[in-house]
Symmetry: D3
């Protein structure tokens, strides 16, 4: 069988550390094009992966005869490049946050639908073993009715991750639109929707840009969410947890409590009201830190959905709903009102 051809648009850290090696490791894919405005970056990856280098994304998408396109660009380019790719009949894997507005997100969904191609958003936290296990336990009713939760994602900021360090687009509002909320918060919005199997209908929030110099986007955000079933909880995102990354989620239910990624030894700890306790050692969470980053599962899932013509776990609609929560949080902060979804 012939391999699927992929064009990776953007050669920053997410392409370097995730998309490119994961496509390379997938036996059904061939990397045919890499693209970056900075030609040297494109050339470097091209030679590493034996692909063609481009500086113009349109050329990269069309000339390369790619079947798949990975969009690894600053947030403000997610929508236009994804739409273009879909219009060219490509399956698209786009980084999060999906877009910078609801309108853009809708355009992406429509373009892919019109083309009859897949659109997937790279919310890798759904593939973390502790998240999958928690979803399974909740679905099976192991903790009974869910009452509340807290979920957070914070680290020291993108300067330690981005290829451009402190000069990264992450800190510029016109390119990022959203700061920690878009970088980290949207991950937890997506994964808490997924784990709880519910949609949120109300958002309150306070947002600050107090920790980073030379930045005009949010770096601290605390939000509260209410689900259609009356579950309430907090979702926080921060670029100022420099003393220790926190990617934890805690879920409180009638019969017990689940602690996810909240313990150095166990990915999941279930504690029950009957006094019993179950510790799960599962695979490690995917972080930006060094260490065993074998695979986030995102690329493999995307490729499978194309090969088997199945709906991706995080399709455009899913990405859209997770994005809505973050956009509502920003609006709640500005209007000082709770926002209904």
């Amino acid at each position: 069988m012939e391999k699927l051809k992929v064009a990776v648009i953007g050669c920053g850290s997410i392409a370097i550390h995730r998309h490119l090696p994961e496509y390379q490791a997938n036996p059904f894919v061939e990397i045919v094009a890499v693209c970056d405005l900075k030609e040297d970056r494109a050339q470097l990856r091209a030679s590493e992966y034996n692909a063609q280098a481009y500086t113009d994304y349109k050329q990269a998408i069309t000339d390369s005869k790619a079947d798949l396109v990975s969009v690894c660009l600053p947030n403000y380019l997610h929508a236009p490049v994804s739409v273009f790719a879909a219009e060219q009949g490509k399956h698209v894997l786009c980084e999060k946050p999906m877009a910078t507005s609801e309108e853009e997100a809708q355009q992406m969904i429509e373009a892919s639908n019109n083309a009859g191609k897949k659109l997937m958003i790279a919310h890798n936290q759904r593939f973390v073993p502790s998240h999958e296990k928690a979803k399974q336990l909740i679905t099976n009713g192991e903790i009974g009715k869910v009452y509340s939760f807290r979920t957070t994602f914070g680290h020291g900021g993108p300067e330690g991750w981005s290829i451009d360090g402190k000069e990264s687009w992450f800190f510029r509002k016109e390119e990022a639109f959203i700061g920690a909320l878009g970088d980290l918060g949207v991950h937890k919005a997506d994964v808490i929707r997924y784990i709880l199997g519910t949609e949120f209908t109300e958002v309150a929030a306070m947002v600050e840009a107090s920790a980073k110099e030379n930045s005009d986007v949010d770096d601290q955000a605390v939000t509260i969410l209410r689900s259609e079933k009356g579950i309430i909880g907090t979702l926080t995102a921060s670029w100022a947890y420099g003393a220790g990354e926190d990617n934890s989620t805690v879920i409180y239910g009638e019969k017990g409590m689940l602690r996810l990624e909240d313990d150095p030894a166990y990915g999941l700890i279930a504690t029950y009201t009957d006094g019993s306790k179950v510790n799960y050692e599962l695979g490690q969470i995917q972080t930006n830190d060094s260490g065993g980053q074998s695979s986030s599962g995102v690329v493999d899932h995307f490729v499978d959905s194309v090969r088997n013509d199945t709906k991706p776990l995080i399709d455009g609609e899913e990405g859209y709903k997770s994005l809505q929560i973050i956009l509502a949080a920003l609006e709640a902060n500005e209007t000082k009102k709770n926002i209904s979804l």
Copy 2:
């Protein structure tokens, strides 16, 4: 020197487990009166502490010639009894939440001021060693500028603590007015104000009564606070953490992070951005669980402030400000707007 005479009004759990034994252990105090509407409860404590039993609080306060009055009653009685006691020229130690409205709280303050007597609210968390140490570290600038925090207090509900179990006044709106927020949330509102040394100016919140049957008060509350200095954080309270009490606070700053009562071995863990970590084994937190409840520090502090005529650490004004946050949270939940303080 003659001993101070105290009348303890209300013979429920808080009187039994804290006020009475702490007064008994204090060498400068003599328990002269105990009072409860249920005569047998009053008699039982009277014989235990060699005091006079009353069923009428006014008699208990006036006839006993008490110098001090401890108000250990359901929330809706805090204000009237405290005001009466102050008017009779007594120093008052009142349980939290101070009152059920701002007006009541103001009346209490005025009554004590007019009488020239002390009014203290029993926010014992200020005397927890880890809270005191955190305040000291923050004051000394050890973690630099504070960006955000999360603080929570949750357990399985007052039915495991109250002398009346599931029939407790804690679950009845007309007597309690506020549920988990008043029982637990106000503790954290008070202690986070104290630790950070700042006042909060904006509150958002969502509140639910989803976990307890036969209850018409809140049992889940998630709130967000913004300080005058732009610190944002979450404060949550719950009566549905049946699988494990949580009384933790985490504070994020420029140079490090403080984790309070968030680890089974260490009351305080300071982690710094330079990679160093300091673990503090301090005295244990005061909880309702069995175990080393030697003293909360509240009664001793109150007695000292009377003896030395010093301002109590948590006087009426302090109690009022902490109460305001909780009342604002309830209003925010109802109006779906952020409330300014």
Copy 3:
């Protein structure tokens, strides 16, 4: 509703530490008779539990108008007393091993069947949380096809438990018939049948009486079992694990391994071939040691089965099958041949 009346026959350790306190704690039962050949022992328990003391078991069973009879006697008396009680129309809870021969066991079953009454054998290990959880995991297919197992029960010998110490009937062949195999081995024969949900068809064994002086029964036994499904494993019993009790079971399957009561912290540890590991902190195993012997679950289950007229989990047939394995082991040791069941 009227309480069920129980007569407890035999006032040795098992009656003192398990049957009597568990009946006492059960709200649906009244202890009406206690019986022991040594009158002072019977009197002591009679006064402790406000019951009638007997030295003649027939009288105790008939005169007391008991509904239930607990047989807490040396092994050689299990059958005659149980048969007598059944013939008198009593529900019978008999200690393990059920009997000293297959014939006796069959008589017990028939007598109860004829009377239309319950017969239960006190194999309490089925109620140990880790055993229950393991059965559930295996039933759910979590470890796939089971290949093999090892299960053991050993401690320092009955002299540390029996009311008669080194003079106990446990060491006399004419009263005990079987030593460690009957005291401990039959427990594991029963519980491994239960956990695996399979019957064993072949037994090989070696048995020794090498550790105890003044004893003429087996104190060491090593056996191997083959199930109808081709599962093979070892079952060992010993009265010479004086340096540390061992009550562990390990089960090896296609997808993982379960370790039960083999770790000081976790009652059950599941290790999977995919590298994940799940540690279960469950309720403690029931042992003869001091400590939290709240309840073995045996008496409550027996009472429930009588009250609801349901089949007891370990009825006569179940007890019989577990006994067969032990008897086969003794025969295998003597004949030096594998015994088919």
Copy 4:
């Protein structure tokens, strides 16, 4: 002094990971010949160790003028190649199990005796520090009279170790003759004889081939052994412990219990009936896993015995006795009778 010359026959995993590097590290030996039916394998090792490559074992043994011959071949070739080498006047180090029948083993012993040369069988477990320490403690009487034991060796199967993976000769009866029992069980038969300093006189066993596809040898074996002194115990071997290797031995005695290789931190734990406990951190056991495989001690011991003309610790007679146990287990399984040795 001139170095001893060695010819290593067979270039599979055991030669690659043990024999070749250990000869290389021994200052008194020179590797002169490597031999494998697959020429490329022989060439690869020849160039790595600067030796001559052969595909014909007879040539390798004779032409190379080797003093020593290491037999690293499938089981069915152990005897013929060892006999040939001995007849050519070579000292022989043969892998375990020594042979596939008692007759073959006797021929090997005779051939070496006739040649006046050494024959050693590579039972490396005798050199494991915890095994040596246990032998010493038992010899010194530290645990008194030994009553019983259990010893096991199981892992996920030779497909993870053999150079041919799932196509390995280990799974083919005509080449391996014995499966897990010959691969792993014979190790424990040898080492338990050594540690206890006793011979076994009776064997019962059950053996299954239930876990591996495309295999016609045993992959599960449970056996029981009785020693001349009345010690009884279990010896198990398995290729289906995929969730975790187990190489443990537990020995129960009058005064205490020794646990060998049964704890992740301590190679040996001695627990005594007086309540004391001694934990030994010794050198690591030799396993097939990656990690510190500095040396099994086998090659060094063999070379020393040749250089000093001393009897090897595991000579032909020792290998023969350990082999007998395994062969008896297979016979016991087939005849369903205990086999006397």
Copy 5:
């Protein structure tokens, strides 16, 4: 057989917590007399142990017809009372330090020798399991030649132990003569002599009285010792280790190091130059703290030596040699010279 009669002279803490209960627990002894200058103390113990109370030690020793005398008095009375008792033909167990001068010690030895009776000094550290095990390991050559050591004994001071608290004779020079060195240092002088099996020939020291108010004896002492075999080491004693008792000894040898009472979990840790490490969990050390003070072993040993007419492990000569070291340390401090023994 008739029981030995004992008179215990002095009813302070050492009598209350050690001598009296240990005599009581010994089946061969009857407490016939207790004596204290303070009559109420004597009466209290007399009624507790059913003995005769005395305030005059001579009467207590003679009138009671005691066979044994325990001297539990301030240091300056050790010699006169022991000498008197020996002269009356009594076996004497005297607390440490044996005496306040070499002359006194010699008189005690002579008096007992003349009477043909036993004299034992209560150096209980020789009976600590870790000390016994270390002596055995060193004697067996397990750590080879010994090079050096450090041994220390420090706690918060006798005020927490003595029946008189801060008013204790321990702090008065005319009664105690020696402070921490006599209370604690002499214990380690004795036990290090015992463990190493060597005598010390040279002592240097510095001593201070810097920590205790209202005390005129040493509370800090650091000394160095040289043995006849050239072993050098430090011995320290302190009454100012208020933040944690330290009773540790470390011994450095050619082949390894022994750490005694230097770890919370293990009484003895042996670390070897070959990288192996052995942890011993043995019985607990005897301290003045609360907890399992079943027996120091001293009284039982003394009684055995009288009953079997054997030399006590710590007879007068042994006590004398240990005392000499402490006296030399005081002299070294004063003269600023090393003292030869």
Copy 6:
């Protein structure tokens, strides 16, 4: 700005593992000359660091136009080379011990003073985080008045570190003058002076050369020190702690105790008399073992002091005072008298 030029004199282990890599890592320095009597050693480092190789130290110092000179030579050469370098107008960083006599040390100080250049002694222990933190805590009065201390430095000897192994100059008196005391003891003399902020006025000591063959210097030393403020403590140094390096210091004060480098997990543990305990995880101590030897801090501090023209933390006077203690210890051992400083 132009880089400072450094000449490193001596190419043994201290140059290889510390001076050269630390100069290399410092952005303000350029290594221009390396010098060793053995030309191949000099050449090797010259090519590694792109410097000029010398065998004559005078040439290396003068011809290279170095600004800085690092003296990494045997002890007896410290003074002459440092003096020469100072006379040539160089800033000098000299290894410890500074010199082999007080006279030499004074000459070094004078030469640098005359030249107006820096002289620093490489007492790297002052830069260990736990030592710095302890100094800060003591200065702040956290443990109140200091009473006593013990400090030690021992390992298996310089043969495991020196480039010449057992043939090292460390073992030859004419080159080293002082053994373990000069290699290790002087480190602790310096650091304990620094931490306590006090000078010592009296030294007693015993010294032995009992552990090393082919050595004529001390390999065991135990000393006691008294400070001007009456603090007494022990300082020990050893080359015979082959079973485990010990670099610990314990300081006892009025309010608490500090344990430095005495725990595998925590660099500093503070225990207080109020029962609280604080564990510090700080940067690792600098040892000769493999592992994270990023930087000792010595070279960076030296370079900073030259660049900013500030007094180095360990200038000649400081090195001199630390040396005095060691020299006094040797004298005390010989004269058997306490030596006053």
